[in-house]
C-alpha cells in the first residue's frame, strides 16, 4: 500500500505533531520507501505463529501495593516549563 499526503497529515494529527505543508512532500517519500522495505514481511506465512509478546522467560513480577515515596512535589515540579508552586500550568482548556 502507499501512503498519501492526506493520510500522513492524519497520522501526524494522531501523534500530536504539527507538520508543515512544505515538509509533507519529503515525509511522504521517506515513509513510503520505509514501508516498501517493511512490507517484505508479507512474503512470510505466519498464520500458525504465536505472536511474541515477551522475550523474558519469567513473567512480570507484582509488588505489594504500598507507598514507597512521596512528598516530593518540589522535585516533581522542578522541571516543569510552567507551574505556580503547586500545579503544572497549561493553556486554558475550558471556556
Amino acid at each position: 500500500m502507499s501512503l498519501d499526503k492526506e493520510k500522513i497529515k492524519h497520522v501526524a494529527k494522531l501523534a500530536r505533531i504539527s507538520v508543515d505543508d512544505a515538509k509533507v512532500e519529503s515525509l511522504t517519500k521517506d515513509l513510503n520507501s520505509i514501508f516498501k522495505f517493511i512490507e517484505q514481511l508479507n512474503e512470510l506465512n505466519t498464520d500458525k505463529v504465536e505472536p511474541l509478546t515477551s522475550i523474558l522467560n519469567q513473567s512480570l513480577r507484582s509488588r505489594k501495593d504500598e507507598i514507597s515515596d512521596g512528598k516530593i512535589r518540589e522535585k516533581v515540579l522542578k522541571n516543569s516549563p510552567k507551574e505556580n508552586d503547586e500545579f503544572f500550568v497549561v493553556p486554558k482548556v475550558v471556556e
Partner: protein
C-alpha cells in the same frame, strides 16, 4: 609516567591501586584531553568541578577494594544523572535536570567511579551515525569527517580518543556494537534484563539494553560486572546473583562450538568484511574451537520487523513529551492541542518524527494486525531460529557491520540505506540475546572493522571468554593519531 590516558581501564585501575597515579591526577589528565578535543564534539555536558571534588574525596580516603576505585567516567547522555542535565540528544530535553540517578550509573558510582561528563548521542538513540543529535555531529577520531557510528557515537568517539577510560551506551538495534566496530573498540549488548533500564530515557522498551564500551575485553568484563544486577524498579530485570565476569575470564576455548550463519553473507558486502570474517574463523579454529555451519533462515526479516516494533514502542514512549511536566514547551499554540503539536514539532528532530509517525501508523486502528501483530509473529520466528541453533552450538560468529565508518552526510538522504547498517546487529535485540563486538582488523582505507559474537541468554561469560582468547591472538592494534588536538 607515560600518558596514562591511553592505557586500558584495567591498567589504570592497577596504577591507582599501586598509587602510581592519584585519582585527581588521573581526572586532570582526562580533563586536559577533553578540552583539547572539542572538534570531536563528543560531549554535551562536562562535570569537571564535580569530578575533581570526587577525585579529591577519593584521594583523601581511598578504598582500593572497589571495582572502579577513583575512576572518572563519561556516560551516554541517555542515562539520567541526578542534578546533571540529561538531554538524550534532543532539543525537547535541553533543559531537563533529573532529580534521580539511573540504576546503572548508580551501580558504577557505588563501585568507586564518578561522572566526568555526558556524551553526545543520536536523538533518543534513534540513528546509526550520530547525525540526528540536536547537539551536532560527533567526529570519529579515526578520521576527520567520518561518523563515529550511532546511536552511542559520543561514547565510541570519546573512548577511542582517550577522553574517558571506559564508557557505557545503550543498544536497541546495534547502538553499542556498531559504533564500537567503527572506532576499533569493544562493545557489549547484554541479555535483555541483565542491566536495569530504570532511569534510562526510553526508546523501545522491549529492545533497549545498557552495556559497556571499552578498549579491551577485560575492561568490558569489569564494567559489565559493575553495571549489571537485579533492580526492583525495572519490572523486566532478571533476578539472579551478580556474576564476577572479570575474575572468571578465561582464554581457553578448546572444544567450544562456534556457529557460522550462512545468512550473514549478504549481497554487496565489501570483500574486506568477508575476509575479516574468514580471519576470525581461522583464529578461533586455531585455538581449538569447532566451526559449525548453521542457518538462521529469518535473518533478512529482522530489520523490517525491527522497523515496526521499535517505532511502535517509541511512539508510545515518546508520548510523554508534551511540554507540560518537563522539557521544552513551544511559545506558540492558542490552545492545549496546538501547544502539544507545536511543542513536539519544534522539540523533536526529523528522524524522531519519522519514527513516531511510523509507530503511530502501525498501531492505528485498522492497521494493527497487518503491521504490529505481523511483526510480533515474525519476531517469534527470529527468536526460534536462534533457539534451534543454540541446541548445537555455544556461540555465533558474524561480522558486526556490513561496512566500516562512512562519511558525514553520505547516508542522510536515504533512511533505508542508513537502517541497513544495523542488519547484523538487530536480530540479537529482537531475540533478547547478548552480543559482543570486538575489533578484528582494518579495511583498505585503514578504518577499523569488528566481528560479533552472539551468545545464549545470560551466557555473557562465554562470549567474553571467546573474545578474550580472540583478542590475544588477533594482531589488531588501534592506532589513532591525535590529529584534533
Amino acid at each position: 609516567m607515560a600518558d596514562i590516558t591511553n592505557q586500558s581501564l584495567n591498567e589504570i585501575i592497577e596504577n591507582v591501586k599501586t598509587k602510581k597515579v592519584s585519582s585527581t591526577d588521573l581526572t586532570k589528565a582526562y580533563i586536559k584531553n577533553i578540552e583539547s578535543a572539542k572538534k570531536l564534539n563528543a560531549f554535551v555536558t562536562t562535570t569537571f568541578d564535580q569530578a575533581l571534588d570526587k577525585a579529591k574525596q577519593f584521594d583523601n580516603k581511598p578504598n582500593f577494594d572497589q571495582l572502579l576505585p577513583g575512576i572518572p567516567l563519561a556516560v551516554k547522555d541517555l542515562f539520567c544523572t541526578e542534578n546533571t542535565k540529561t538531554t538524550a540528544g534532543s532539543n525537547i530535553l535541553n533543559n531537563f535536570i533529573p532529580s534521580y540517578e539511573s540504576t546503572v550509573t548508580k551501580n558504577l558510582w557505588n563501585d568507586g567511579s564518578f561522572l566526568l561528563g555526558k556524551l553526545n548521542c543520536d536523538e533518543f538513540a534513534m540513528g546509526s551515525s550520530n547525525e540526528t543529535s540536536h547537539y551536532g555531529n560527533v567526529i570519529n577520531p579515526v578520521g576527520d569527517q567520518l561518523v563515529p557510528g550511532g546511536s552511542s557515537g559520543g561514547s565510541s568517539s570519546a573512548l577511542a580518543a582517550d577522553l574517558t577510560p571506559a564508557t557505557i551506551g545503550t543498544d536497541t538495534g546495534g547502538s553499542i556494537r556498531q559504533p564500537a566496530s567503527f572506532t576499533g573498540t569493544v562493545g557489549l549488548k547484554p541479555t535483555y534484563g541483565l542491566c536495569s533500564r530504570w532511569g534510562i530515557v526510553a526508546f523501545a522498551s522491549s529492545l533497549d539494553q545498557a552495556g559497556p564500551m571499552t578498549k579491551t575485553i577485560k575492561d568490558c568484563a569489569i564494567m559489565l560486572e559493575s553495571m549489571s544486577g537485579f533492580d526492583e524498579k525495572d519490572s523486566t530485570s532478571i533476578n539472579k546473583k551478580k556474576e564476577q565476569y572479570s575474575k572468571n575470564l578465561k582464554d581457553n576455548i578448546k572444544g567450544l562450538k562456534i556457529g557460522i550463519p550462512k545468512e550473514y553473507r549478504v549481497d554487496n558486502m565489501p570483500k574486506e568484511v568477508d575476509e575479516l570474517w574468514e580471519k576470525g574463523k581461522k583464529i578461533l579454529k586455531d585455538l581449538g574451537a569447532q566451526l559449525i555451519d548453521i542457518s538462521l533462515p529469518h535473518t533478512k526479516y529482522a530489520l523490517p520487523t525491527y522497523y515496526i516494533v521499535a517505532p511502535a514502542e517509541a511512539s508510545s514512549n515518546l508520548a510523554r513529551y508534551d511540554g507540560v511536566r518537563y522539557g521544552y514547551r513551544s511559545k506558540q499554540g492558542k490552545d492545549l492541542i496546538e501547544m502539544y503539536e507545536k511543542t513536539r514539532s519544534e522539540g523533536f528532530g526529523d528522524e524522531v518524527k519519522r519514527r513516531i509517525l511510523i509507530g503511530t501508523y502501525v498501531l492505528s486502528s485498522g492497521y494493527y494486525d497487518a503491521y504490529y501483530l505481523k511483526a510480533q509473529k515474525v519476531r517469534q520466528l527470529i527468536k526460534k531460529d536462534f533457539d534451534d541453533s543454540f541446541t548445537k552450538i555455544d556461540a555465533i560468529l558474524t561480522p558486526s557491520t556490513p561496512s566500516s565508518a562512512f562519511k558525514i552526510g553520505e547516508k542522510t538522504n536515504d533512511p533505508v540505506s542508513m537502517y541497513l547498517n544495523d542488519i547484523f546487529t538487530v536480530p540479537v535485540n529482537l531475540a533478547g540475546l547478548p552480543a559482543l563486538s570486538m575489533p578484528a582488523g582494518v579495511d583498505k582505507k585503514g578504518y577499523p572493522l569488528g566481528l560479533q559474537l552472539i551468545g545464549k541468554a545470560l551466557d555473557e561469560q562465554k562470549i567474553l571468554n571467546i573474545g578474550y582468547a580472540f583478542e590475544k591472538n588477533c594482531d589488531f592494534k588501534n592506532e589513532i593519531k591525535k590529529w584534533w588536538s
